[in-house]
Symmetry: C2
């Protein structure tokens, strides 16, 4: 396993001359996530977030490493993701230098835009989107609701379970979600009805962006898998639970999921995450070891991430009354039964070709207790236990006007914390 | 429902000046399927098949309708598929004229290439690939093997069951299939092994190419769905049955299917298929009527297609001995429980956005009897009843060197038959 190394770009003492960057809760100079943005009405271009600003990398390409030059003038990050890992690292090193050394600020300042004045887009043209199911507490909780006698199926501890999702309906943070219609059948009804979903839910996930891919018929060995990960974003896999329950057998979720998926627009790179790597939690006594094609000593020792994930809720009425969002849950990303590298190695283990810019969802990340559950399905026990909002309203599932925002931060002793930006969207009513 | 009309381009008496075209079993002038080809080592371009030739449409764009001009110089059919249906129809009318009127042949002859001398590519850049499950006999046969007590689930007759597949691994006819490795667990084993699949299979399907799409959050009403279908190809959804059995619960097939999907490279257009439309077979007594969003009187009356589908098999030894391929099955496409229009309308019914060039598989099309089963899983009853080849070899599932080819023809009284070309691939051994 060749994991990115911790270097001086991660030093907590490193400062930036960019106003607002130092001690920024999400985008200090130690982060430097990539994204795609438009200044006002102008064309989409590649940028890097620093403090409250974004740097236009195309404008700086003459002072950035030549190996990245061609990739930096594209309208998405696919070509940048396709670069060899050492070229992506060289770009990070140079950006860190340009944004910390104030004698170099003259060349960079004209390329700085306030984030508040730009539009953020999807970071990549997503060829294929795959969603996994590696949050073991979520799998257990949901399994209990769908299959009370059989929550965790026999394959779960051997197979990083995943399925293909819809690439076309992945949208950046901020785009509203239209409540879908769908078939749903009440347990005591003779036949289904086709109506707007009455059990609309969110799912807290991480999104993995694929870096270099593999050719069809070849694999990505577990020892090389982390080099094939460009970085991660936050992901909300919106789900219509009533549609899902009726349609999902035998081929899996389809229209219950593919109406909209939200991702945070900044890609926090594998390189930026180097200091926040931790050991994969040991498997419970009695669980099988991963099969050899999924087992790597370094991945087990450093393949998990020290991230705190939070979900925030506000109703339209809460916003009207000026109330702060309600935190629905908070928990660590280490509640994943498989590492990111295992997800990637498994996906390519049959020769399936991954491409730069492909997006892989982790699956819902829940903790073992309700304070860390990653979906309303779990929090309200399938709607049986509604909760009360500060306005006196109650919720079992999402209502029109409700807004969900996912945030995250990476922590390590003696290190600056870094964040991911927002993965946010509001629910709109189904059109007539 | 606005189905394409039968016009003079379909007349059985219409002749072409192109040698080999008249009475051609697949590509007479009544067909005119679109595809993408490279003459020798030159760049990919759009063509139309006629007899044993392909016409370079980019080379003819000055004498083709201006509305299609921009689309005709692309390296794939996506922009052509995105044109309004009347523009695609105008292009067909003009091509029929150019290829039948020998006074116009002078301008066309320089753009003709023998098909034997060109390379055929995927017809479109596939944004998303979805696979359905509308072959009711297949669903019943397979259901019996996976769930003996419960072959056809309660949702089957209400929901056109589908799931997302892998776009990146769809390949044109002729590209070999590498046998995938995967996890499989014998019923009496304690744990799975990770080995080359021992139960590799094919699936006989139709592939639907999406024409104009819909915006996210909007739908495609059943009455307009046929206008969103550019045409169809033949599709082989290669399947690793041992991997599928172990991995598919609860989220559906994943690595068992996404290692390779083969499509025939010619897109037989909705316009070309107009004369071969037939009534959707009436549902068996007691089956529910489709819900209103899937029900259209004209679609029920003319939404099915009179196609005969055939699957051909040859082993390496059969080819060495100069033996003809063995026909494994033959049956009509009318063994589909849902029409193509119902598939499209359902897919977009929740606001999921379809895009031009998206590919939708029908699901395996089997008939009620073994002569028309569309997979080895059904023909050999899950491997329990191997069959014998003319060489004396036997088969339960596919061996390395085996080749599967799917062909089809459309028939109607008093009309020329038209074909689809080949959907063919050979199985290669798993690399060491």
């Amino acid at each position: 396993m060749t994991l990115p190394q911790i270097d001086h770009t991660h030093d907590a003492a490193l400062k930036s001359w960019v106003p607002s960057a130092d001690n920024h809760p999400e985008f200090p100079i130690q982060n430097l996530p990539f994204g795609v943005f438009s200044p006002q009405a102008r064309a989409a271009r590649i940028g890097v977030a620093i403090g409250d600003y974004v740097v236009d990398l195309a404008a700086l390409r003459d002072i950035l490493p030549e190996a990245a030059s061609e990739a930096l003038v594209q309208p998405n990050l696919n070509a940048l993701f396709a670069l060899p890992a050492q070229d992506r690292r060289a770009l990070r090193l140079r950006l860190s230098e340009l944004l910390s050394d104030d004698t170099l600020s003259g060349a960079v300042v004209p390329a700085l835009y306030p984030q508040a004045e730009v539009t953020l887009h999807l970071p990549a043209r997503i060829g294929d989107y795959t969603d996994f199911y590696v949050g073991i507490h979520h799998a257990t909780n949901v399994g209990k609701l769908f299959r009370p006698d059989n929550p965790l199926l026999p394959n779960y501890k051997y197979v990083p379970i995943g399925y293909h999702g819809r690439a076309s309906s992945v949208r950046p943070s901020g785009e509203p979600v239209v409540r879908p219609r769908g078939q749903r059948k009440a347990p005591d009804a003779d036949a289904p009805v086709f109506e707007p979903s009455a059990r609309l839910d969110y799912e807290l996930e991480l999104g993995i962006w694929v870096a270099q891919g593999n050719a069809l018929g070849t694999t990505i060995p577990i020892g090389q898998a982390s080099e094939h990960i460009a970085g991660i974003s936050l992901l909300n896999d919106w789900s219509a639970r009533d549609v899902q329950a009726w349609e999902y057998q035998p081929l899996g979720p389809f229209l219950a999921k593919n109406f909209h998926t939200t991702v945070s627009p900044w890609v926090v790179t594998t390189e930026a995450l180097a200091p926040y790597r931790i050991a994969q939690p040991p498997r419970p006594e009695g669980d099988p070891a991963p099969l050899p094609y999924l087992l790597d000593v370094q991945d087990q020792a450093q393949g998990a991430l020290s991230l705190t994930l939070s979900v925030w809720f506000s109703s339209a009425k809460m916003r009207e009354e000026g109330r702060a969002p309600l935190r629905l849950s908070e928990g660590p990303a280490s509640n994943m039964y498989w590492t990111l590298a295992q997800i990637v190695a498994h996906h390519a283990s049959n020769g399936c070709n991954l491409n730069p810019g492909d997006l892989l969802g982790s699956g819902t990340i829940s903790g073992p207790t309700p304070e860390s559950y990653g979906s309303l399905l779990e929090i309200t026990e399938g709607g049986k236990r509604p909760f009360t909002l500060p306005t006196g309203e109650t919720r079992s599932f999402l209502q029109n006007g409700d807004e969900i925002s996912i945030t995250a931060s990476a922590h390590a002793p003696g290190r600056a914390s870094i964040g991911f930006g927002e993965c946010r969207a509001v629910i709109l009513a189904t059109p007539a």
